[in-house]
C-alpha cells in the first residue's frame, strides 16, 4: 500500500479518503450533527412534558394537530432519540472519530491496518444514518416501539420499524468493519518498543471496546433478521400463539417468544453500554495524567479492571429482564454477576480519583470536563446498584429512575469526556487553540443544567412515574406530587441546549484563528503529541517513525530536565 502521489481528485482526497485522520474527522462531524439532532428531538418532547396542553412552538404544527404531539409521534421521537444518540451519535464519535484519528498516532504508525475498509465503514455508517432518519418520512412515521424494539409491538408496528431494522443492519456492518480494523491495527502495527503494558489507556479502551463490538453486535443482527422475517414474511419467531390486538386475532401461526428478542437484544445492548463508557474512561485518563503532571495511579489495576469489565459485560444482560418472570435461580445468577461487574468500575473510578492526589493540577477546559466526569459517572454508577438488585428493581424498573441512571453515565458522563477530548486534541488536529473563556462557560453551565435535567428523574422514578409516558405522568395520581419537576427538567434541558452555543461559537472562531506553531502545547508524553507535526502530516503521520522506550505517563520523572518525558525519548 504505497503512498505514491498519483494525481488525487478532490473526491478521492477528501470525500472518499482512506486516510484515518480524514475518516476520523468525517465520523466526528457527522456524529456531532446527529447528537444535536437527537438532542433537539428531546427538547421538543420535553415541551410537551412540561406543558401538556400547550401547542409546541415552531415545530408543533408539523408534528400534530393543534401543535400537540399525539402519542404515536411522541413514541417515535422517544425511540429515535435513543437510537440516534447511541448509534448515530455517541458510539461513532467515541469509537469512530476519536479511535480512528488518534489510535494510529498513539501507537506510532502511519494509518489503520485496512485503510479502504476504514473508508467503507464510514460511508456505510453514513448511509445507515440516512436510512434511519428516512423513517420519519414514511407513512406512520419513524419507529415508535422504543429503541429496544420489543415484540410483539415491534412486530406489528408501522413501516418505520422496518426502516429502523434496515438502518441497524447498515450500522452494525459499519461497526464490525471498524472493530476488525482497530483490533488488527493494535495487535499488528504498534511501533517498535510499544509493548502491551506501555500502551496509553486511551488505546487500551479502544481495543477492548472493539472486542465488545465485534462479539456482541452479531446476535442483535441475528435478532434483527428474525424480526424482519416476522414483519415481512409473516414468520412467528417472536409472536406467541393466539395474540389478540384491538379485538382481532392476529394472522400469525404463533409458537414464537417475545422473550427471545429480549435475550438477543440485551446480549448486545448490555456490552453496548460498556462501549459507551470505555472510550470515555480512556480519554479522561489521558487528560487527568496530563493535567496533574504525574503518572496515573495504578496503571496495571486499571488495565486489568477494564479487561475484566469487558469479559463480565457479556454475562449480565438479563438484569434488564428481571421482571419477565425468569424465576429466582436465573435472577440470582444475573444479580450476582451484576454486583461483581460493579467492582472493576469502582476500581477504575478510584484509580482516576487517586491519580489526582499530590498532582500539580491545571484547571484548563479539558481538565474541567474530565474532573466533572468523575463524580457524574459516580452518581450514574451508584444509582445503577438498586437497579441491579432484583428486589429493588421491582419498584424501579421502567420508571424515570432508570432514565436518570443511564443518562448520568452517558450525558454528564461520556459526553463530558468526549467534549474534554475535543478540547484536548483540538490543537493536535488543527494547530490552533480554543478559547478558554468560552470553554469554561460551556463547562460550568453544562454541568449545572445536566444535573438540572437528570437529578429530578430519580425523584420522579422513586415516586413511581413510568418512563415513555407521552404526558409525563399527568393522569396518574401517584405522580401528582412530583409533576412540577417536569417543568424544571424541561427548562434545564432547553438552557443546556442554549449552552452548547458556547461550544459551537468556540469551534468556529478557533478554527478561523491563527496557527500557533506549537506541536505539544499541553506538554504531553504520548507520542501523538511528540513525534508528529501539528496537525499531523497528510500522508504518513510521522516525519520519522518513532520507537518507544518508556511508559505512557512519565511526568515529573526525578532527574529529568522537563516535567514530562515523552514515550519516544531514549532512557
Amino acid at each position: 500500500m504505497s503512498t505514491d502521489h498519483h494525481r488525487e481528485s478532490f473526491l478521492t482526497k477528501y470525500i472518499f479518503s482512506t486516510d484515518h485522520k480524514i475518516i476520523g474527522l468525517q465520523y466526528g462531524i457527522t456524529s456531532l450533527v446527529w447528537l444535536l439532532f437527537g438532542f433537539t428531538l428531546m427538547m421538543i418532547m420535553r415541551y410537551q412534558l412540561a406543558y401538556p396542553e400547550s401547542p409546541i412552538p415552531f415545530v408543533g404544527a408539523l408534528l400534530g394537530e393543534g401543535g400537540i404531539l399525539p402519542s404515536e409521534v411522541y413514541n417515535s421521537l422517544g425511540a429515535m432519540h435513543g437510537t440516534i444518540m447511541i448509534f448515530l451519535g455517541v458510539v461513532p464519535l467515541a469509537f469512530g472519530a476519536f479511535g480512528n484519528y488518534f489510535l494510529p498516532l498513539q501507537i506510532g504508525t502511519i494509518d489503520m491496518a485496512f485503510p479502504k475498509l476504514n473508508a467503507a465503514s464510514y460511508w456505510i455508517y453514513f448511509l445507515g444514518s440516512v436510512v434511519m432518519v428516512i423513517g420519519f418520512f414514511v407513512p406512520g412515521g419513524a419507529a415508535n416501539s422504543g429503541w429496544t424494539s420489543y415484540p410483539p409491538l415491534a412486530d406489528i408496528a408501522t413501516m418505520g420499524q422496518t426502516v429502523w431494522l434496515f438502518g441497524m443492519v447498515f450500522l452494525i456492518t459499519s461497526s464490525l468493519l471498524g472493530s476488525v480494523n482497530i483490533l488488527v491495527t493494535v495487535i499488528q502495527l504498534r511501533a517498535e518498543g510499544m509493548t502491551w503494558m506501555k500502551l496509553p489507556i486511551f488505546t487500551w479502551t479502544q481495543f477492548i471496546t472493539a472486542f465488545l463490538l465485534l462479539l456482541a453486535f452479531p446476535p442483535l443482527e441475528a435478532a434483527g433478521i428474525l424480526q424482519l422475517m416476522d414483519r415481512l414474511v409473516g414468520t412467528s419467531f417472536f409472536m406467541p400463539s393466539g395474540l389478540v390486538v384491538s379485538g382481532e386475532i392476529l394472522k400469525y401461526t404463533g409458537g414464537g417468544s417475545p422473550l427471545l428478542w429480549q435475550h438477543l437484544f440485551w446480549f448486545l445492548a448490555h456490552p453496548e453500554v460498556y462501549v459507551l463508557i470505555l472510550p470515555a474512561f480512556g480519554i479522561v485518563t489521558e487528560i487527568v495524567a496530563n493535567n496533574t503532571r504525574k503518572p496515573i495511579w495504578g496503571y496495571k489495576s486499571m488495565v486489568y479492571a477494564m479487561v475484566f469489565l469487558g469479559f463480565m459485560s457479556f454475562i449480565v444482560w438479563a438484569h434488564h429482564m428481571y421482571l419477565t418472570g425468569m424465576g429466582t435461580t436465573i435472577g440470582a445468577f444475573f444479580q450476582t454477576t451484576t454486583m461483581i461487574i460493579s467492582i472493576p468500575s469502582v476500581v477504575i473510578l478510584t484509580t482516576l480519583f487517586l491519580s489526582l492526589w499530590g498532582g500539580s493540577i491545571r484547571f484548563n477546559t479539558p481538565m474541567l470536563f474530565a474532573l466533572g466526569f468523575i463524580p457524574m459517572f459516580g452518581i450514574g454508577g451508584l444509582t445503577g446498584l438498586p437497579l441491579g438488585l432484583a428486589a429493588a428493581d421491582i419498584h424501579l424498573h421502567d420508571t424515570y429512575y432508570v432514565i436518570g441512571h443511564f443518562h448520568y453515565v452517558v450525558a454528564p458522563g461520556t459526553i463530558f469526556a468526549l467534549f474534554a477530548g475535543i478540547y484536548y486534541w483540538f490543537p493536535k488536529m488543527t494547530g490552533k487553540r480554543t478559547n478558554e473563556t468560552l470553554g469554561k462557560l460551556h463547562f460550568f453551565f453544562s454541568f449545572i443544567f445536566m444535573n438540572g435535567v437528570f437529578m429530578p428523574m430519580f425523584v420522579q422514578g422513586l415516586a413511581g412515574v413510568s418512563r415513555r409516558l407521552w404526558d409525563g405522568g399527568e393522569i396518574y395520581a401517584h405522580a401528582a406530587d412530583v409533576l412540577y419537576l417536569n417543568e424544571v427538567m424541561s427548562v434545564s434541558a432547553w438552557l443546556l441546549g442554549l449552552t452548547q452555543i458556547f461550544f459551537i461559537v468556540n469551534m468556529i472562531i478557533s478554527l478561523r484563528g491563527k496557527k500557533t506553531g506549537e506541536v505539544n502545547p499541553w506538554g504531553a508524553t504520548t507520542i501523538e503529541w511528540t513525534d508528529t507535526t501539528s496537525p499531523p502530516l497528510a500522508h504518513g503521520n510521522f516525519e520519522i517513525v518513532p520507537s518507544v522506550y518508556r511508559g505512557p505517563y512519565e511526568y515529573n520523572v526525578p532527574g529529568a530536565d522537563k516535567d514530562f518525558t515523552p514515550q519516544s525519548e531514549k532512557g
Partner: protein, 100 residues
C-alpha cells in the same frame, strides 16, 4: 505460512486428501446414525459430537489452525467462551420454566 517449501506444501496436500476422505465418511456416519432410535438427548449429543469432529478437521487442517500461533488461539478462545454464553440464553429459559 509464508515460508513453506514445495515439499512441505506437497505434504500438506496429502493431509488435505486424507481429511477429505474422513469428512466424506463422517457425513455418511451422520446420516446413518440419524436412523437409529436413541432418544432425543443421545441423538442430539451424538450428532453434535460427530459434527464437532468434522468441524475440527476443517478448522485444524483446511484452516491451518494446527500451525497457527497464540494470537489466533486467544481470539478463538474468547469467541468460544462468548458463544457458550450465547447458548446459555435458551438454557436459562428452559431452567426458568422448570425452577420457579
Amino acid at each position: 505460512m509464508a515460508d513453506l517449501t514445495p515439499e512441505q506444501v506437497k505434504h500438506h496436500v496429502k493431509i488435505y486428501v486424507m481429511v477429505f476422505v474422513a469428512l466424506a465418511f463422517l457425513t455418511i456416519v451422520t446420516v446413518a446414525i440419524s436412523y437409529l432410535d436413541l432418544g432425543v438427548k443421545a441423538s442430539v449429543a451424538l450428532a453434535l459430537f460427530v459434527a464437532s469432529i468434522k468441524g475440527s478437521l476443517v478448522a485444524c487442517y483446511f484452516m491451518h489452525l494446527i500451525d497457527e500461533k497464540i494470537t489466533i488461539y486467544w481470539t478463538l478462545l474468547v469467541t468460544a467462551a462468548m458463544f457458550m454464553v450465547l447458548l446459555f440464553v435458551p438454557l436459562s429459559a428452559m431452567l426458568a420454566h422448570t425452577k420457579i
